[in-house]
Amino acid sequence: MIPRQTDPGVDEALLIREVRAGKVESFEYFVRKYQRRITRLAYRLLRDAGEADCAAQESFLRAYQNLNDFREGSTFETWVTRICINWCKDRLKRRRLVFYFHQGPAENDDDESGPRDAAAGDEPSPERRAISREIRERLRQAIESLSPRQKSVFVLKHFEELSIPEIAELTGLDSGTVKSHLFRAAHKIRERLGEFRKA
């Protein structure tokens, strides 16, 4: 019988050994336990529900097919998350290429009203909501302008709220490089926000 993801004390290493020995059903435990989290992470990176589902499914399939390369000292969650991040990075790279060749570089938002100006006064609640919406839109566009690697590091830090060492483990980068990517990502977003204000 396959253990449920809520069962306490499930020995994941044992389940992995069973899958390696040919018991595919044992893999279901991992799918049931981690697919939602992996799909949400993929959605944060790709901002497309269909692609996020595809990323999650593909990540589990790759994890299964390459299970013999999985090291016992690691956790399955880290292993499948890393596969998912790499899949999403490849997808983002391809998307950027397609975007560049079909549409050219991103255009700035041409909405003239600035969130800062509006926030300075004592606005009623609908206006405040509008400001928040505008900031979200500008921020989202600025995040989309990041390179795939910068974006994945940024999302893992600020949206998934992971620590630098955790991000380093998931991305295969060292901590210094993660910090450097984070810094560059934040700098690039600030620059983009500056461009928005000028526009």
């Binding site: 799918v31 959605y43 390459n66 390369d69 969130p115 928040s132 949206f159 977003i189």
Partner: protein, 163 residues
């Protein structure tokens, strides 16, 4: 002077990943303090945005998981481990090498080295000169005399005659 969008963003999402010290202006300016809250709220909302995935029912999740399991079952058995794959690759390369070396030795493909009789007189003279230079270098290393290869005045070497 109010804080700019970029400054507010820097406070809402610090570049180094650790909170930065708040500027004194924030404690004096209600508008900027409120704007910072708006920025932080916007960041939190983006982080929490899950689009259609956020509204997915447990049944829809179960369907997605079933789909993944179906694709895994279709994929069949798991692949061999990397060390084994590398081992097979290395063994295949060695086998090819072992087959290629005897073929090369049997002279089926490579042209035979030219014999001195096949060379033109000019080439033979060049070879002789090169041999002399090599001998000269060896003599220098072993402390031999340069005179050994210097022709005596008034005499001609065989090579010079040929040239």
């Amino acid at each position: 002077m109010h804080l700019t969008d970029a400054q507010l963003f820097g406070l809402a999402i610090p570049a180094a990943g650790v909170p930065e010290a708040l500027p004194p202006h924030l404690s004096e300016c209600i508008a900027c303090s409120r704007a910072l809250q708006t920025w932080k709220g916007a960041v939190g909302e983006i982080a929490g945005e899950m689009g259609p995935i956020g509204a997915r029912t447990p049944e829809a999740w179960a369907d997605a998981e079933d789909l993944t399991m179906r694709s895994i079952r279709r994929a069949g058995s798991i692949r061999r481990g990397t060390p084994l794959r590398w081992g097979v690759g290395i063994a295949a390369s060695l086998l090819l090498l072992a087959l290629a070396v005897p073929m090369r030795r049997s002279g089926s493909g490579a042209p035979a080295a030219a014999t001195p009789s096949d060379l033109s007189p000019q080439d033979q003279a060049d070879d002789a000169l090169l041999r002399d230079v090599a001998r000269l270098a060896r003599a220098e290393e072993t402390g031999g005399s340069w005179d050994a290869l210097v022709p005596q005045p008034g005499t001609q070497t065989r090579d010079e005659e040929r040239l």
